[in-house]
Amino acid sequence: MGILHRQRWCGATGLLVPLFTLASPGFLKIAGVAPSWAVLWLLPWALVDGPASGAVAGLALGLVLDGLHLGQVSEAPVLVLLGWWWGRIGRRGAPIERSFSLGLLALMGSALLGASLLLQLHWQGALPLPLAGWHTLAAQSLITALLAPLVCSLLLLRWRQVASLRS
């Protein structure tokens, strides 16, 4: 486990995820589809704080977001997986700093999350027309990847500073 989770205010920024999900600003949408704020927050958190903290944060976010949506489908499993995966990447390789890398990781994460939701909704019969799901998946992955270099870079920079100071 890293040390970021011990900083209360760092963890408190996670509250912005449900807040932004509910507020859903219209100017940050593509074709009416909002970005995955959970992915945008979880990516820098896991990269800085490691796989265990990333998985726990993913689980917490998933549980909160599941409570904000209709139906029984869950975002938690994929967010746990993403938190763990991104945490390993942050621990093992060279520090990720390039905007393209962040955008690519966010794109993959958002696409994986969208694919999981698409499958769950389709299996439950809550999405009779898979084409609508593909449209949402593509639009959400795109807008998340476009915002990642901006949002994730800032969070990554700040949290790395905090982590280096505290260590």
Binding site: K29, G71, L127, P128, L129, A132, T136
Partner: protein
Amino acid sequence: MNGRFSRVPTLQKIAEAWPWWLLLLALVGVRLSKGAFFADGYALLSRPFWPGSAQSEWLRSAQQVSDQSRLADLERDNRRLRQMLQLDRTGPGLVSAAVISREPSGWWQQLELGKGRLDGLSPGDAVLAPGGLIGRVASVTPTTARVALLTDGSSRLGVWVGRTQQHALLLGLGTPRPRLQFLEKDPGVRPGDVVSTSPASTLLPPNLTVGVVQSINEQAVPAPDGLVQLSAPVDAVDWVQVRTKAR
């Protein structure tokens, strides 16, 4: 004798008064034509002073007031008759609520309202916007309510096509236009027909406008289906009205 004859008007004098005869003829013409010339002339002269848009607005608003009054009377009558038939289990309660969060596109099509259980809202309540029904309350908290829009993939609603007097099923697809699934092979419905909630509905208030049929697919099996354009603009709604159930 000569003097008495000289007092009788002669033909010459009658002929000399021809302008007066013409005037008399014109007056007879006016009489016979029911004053057509005068009416047309008056219309021509008074055209700049005819009632303008302001007057027509007054008339229109007066007509609207009259229509609304008639509508209220008819609704009252309808409610009374439905209560006599024991069809009406819903009260007349209407709660206005602000839309505090909206997600009309995306994985879920839902709204979040700024009123909840404390204001009498409960799951299943119909949610109306200017234009018609947009969804039903899916869950409530003490101060908020989550609305599943008719476009959501999980939405299933029995509807009624008034022109053909037929029932159908409105299925949300996750797209802006839900699908109208007919129950019969030859529904006779065509684009432009208005879709509303069933007049015999006990789950939802009856006769609420839902939308307009956009297209029909006659080739679909086992029964034709179509797409419906909802009449209420979900993207632009800031306030809605919730029909609460009677306590």
